[in-house]
Amino acid sequence: MSKFQFPESIASRPVYGTLEPRPGKAHLMIADAEGAEAILDLAAQDAGLMAKTHIIYIPKGTDFAEALRALEPAQFYEGPSYAASVQRIRKVLGDAHMGLQVYLAGTEGLMGQAMNEAVSAGIPASAIQTEHRGSIARRMQCVHCKGITEDVTTDPFVCSHCGLNLFVRDHYSRRLAAFQGVCIDAEDPGNVPAPVELYK
């Protein structure tokens, strides 16, 4: 099972739900890796949904693409990475009309970045559905150098840009689609605890 129960946390930390079909003439689904399973579950709830749906999917080494294609969505795109897909996402949102339903599924990094695009296009965050599946890795921003480190799985971790040792906060910015990383040894330089796997 690809579902993970995140521990309860502070008010800025995103809370994910379970995708459900909503009324609308057009539907956009963006997912990565095991997020495909959430879309398969969603499609099973409403036989008419896929005829109005555009799926943008980033497999990240998984093999769900064929199963998604078999749903026969109106449009299907398989992208090699989020970065490669983002121009297409922007074009789809730019052409869309109010009433478009957006569904995001998969890792926090994917959902956060795609949500940011949808919000910038004019859909309120609360109207965008999300469902977490798969990796619990986090997308972290170093508050000091502003660099983003993708797929962080330990606390503390080393900023991939400036090399500082950062601890993982639950404070989250939707605009940056990232959690905040803060220097852990500022008051005692060199005293860095051994990294521990997240949620362990």
């Binding site: 730019g94 869309a96 009309h97 109010m98 009433g99 478009l100 004019g122 859909i123 309120p124 609360s126």
Partner: protein, 328 residues
């Protein structure tokens, strides 16, 4: 911190004004323009704001909210347009029959419960009848900032289309008028489906129209954050009732034609308020004890609050029964 403790006064800050123009627009609607009695400029306001007009009607003080419909960029006047309601509680009738150029009146500072969402990529306005007034100010504000807007305005007849000709002439490509007597109707479903992402819609008019726009938008997949409405309720008459105010330690009678809030004010109780129309939440009051039925009419409390019997909005809601004790 108690650096200089001051008790907050009920209602917004007040401005003394002089009536500078009374302009009948049609059989039902008249525009009233005000200048400041002290000769200064009015405070700037944001489109969608209302002011509460204080009317001295004999020994009775009437307080009615009206949308500011003048150009927010013009600080020399404030203007409101008032539709005469012969069956109403008398505020609009007082304005129509008693208020003359040169009269001294009191307005409150602007309060905005119906603001533009300035993030919107496009603003679409739906007006019904006198509901056109806040959109007059919104259009003026958006024209100044090159905003993207359009108006769909339903009126009963051409003769009663307040500002309809003026708007249609000035903004021919953006203003669409629909006359009931010519069986014209706003094509709401088509309009909703065609809007680009980031569009916000605003509706002001009769309750039925507001409900229709909200329900249709929801059915077409619109997020509630993108649908804005404003409806001021006038307090409705009802059977007189008695209320015990435990903080003030008095028992008061609410008459048939006055609201609970007005009865408190008449008895010298300084109760908080802003909109006096069930929308702003300022006058929310805790119920200490009740034996009877509430007649909730506000838009502020949710269904759960209404059912709980623990809260009441005295500006528009009433009570039928034996005992009511409020924490005021």
């Amino acid at each position: 911190m108690s650096a200089a403790p001051q008790k907050a006064k009920a209602g917004a800050e007040k401005i003394a004004v002089t009536v500078s123009a009374v302009v009948p627009l049609n059989d039902l609607v008249t525009r009233f323009e005000f200048t400041r009695t002290d000769g200064a400029d009015f405070p700037p306001f944001s489109a969608g704001a209302h002011t509460v007009v204080e009317m001295r009607d004999g020994d009775r003080t009437r307080l009615n909210p009206y949308s500011l419909m003048s150009d927010p960029a013009d600080r020399s006047i404030y203007a409101i347009s008032v539709r005469r309601d012969d069956q109403g509680r008398g505020g609009s009738l007082f304005m129509h029959t008693n208020v003359k150029v040169g009269d001294q009146m009191t307005l409150t500072y602007p309060v905005n419960l119906f603001p533009l969402d300035l993030r919107a990529k496009k603003h679409v306005f739906f007006a019904g009848g006198i509901g056109i007034t806040p959109f007059k100010a919104m259009i003026a504000q958006l024209e100044q900032s090159n905003g993207n807007w359009e108006l769909h305005y339903a009126c009963r007849t051409p003769a009663l289309g307040t500002y309809a000709d003026e708007l249609a002439e000035k903004y021919a490509n953006k203003v669409h008028i629909y006359y009931d007597d010519q069986s014209q109707a706003i094509p709401l479903e088509d309009l909703l489906d065609g809007q680009p992402l980031g569009t916000h819609i605003y509706v002001c008019g009769p309750a039925g129209m507001i409900d229709w726009v909200h329900a249709t938008a929801t059915a077409h997949g619109w997020p509630s954050e993108n649908v804005h409405s404003e409806e001021f309720l006038a307090p409705q008459p009802g059977k007189p009732f008695e209320v015990r105010l435990c903080q003030s330690d008095i028992t008061i009678q609410v008459g048939e034609h006055e609201s609970l809030l007005e009865a408190m004010e008449r008895c010298g109780v300084d109760a908080p308020f802003l909109c006096r129309g069930g929308a702003c939440g300022q006058c929310e009051t805790d119920v200490v004890e009740a034996d009877g039925e509430f007649v909730h009419r506000d838009h502020w409390l949710d269904d759960e609050d209404h059912a709980s019997g623990k809260k009441i909005m005295p500006c528009v809601s009433r009570f039928i029964g034996k005992t009511l004790v409020l924490d005021r």
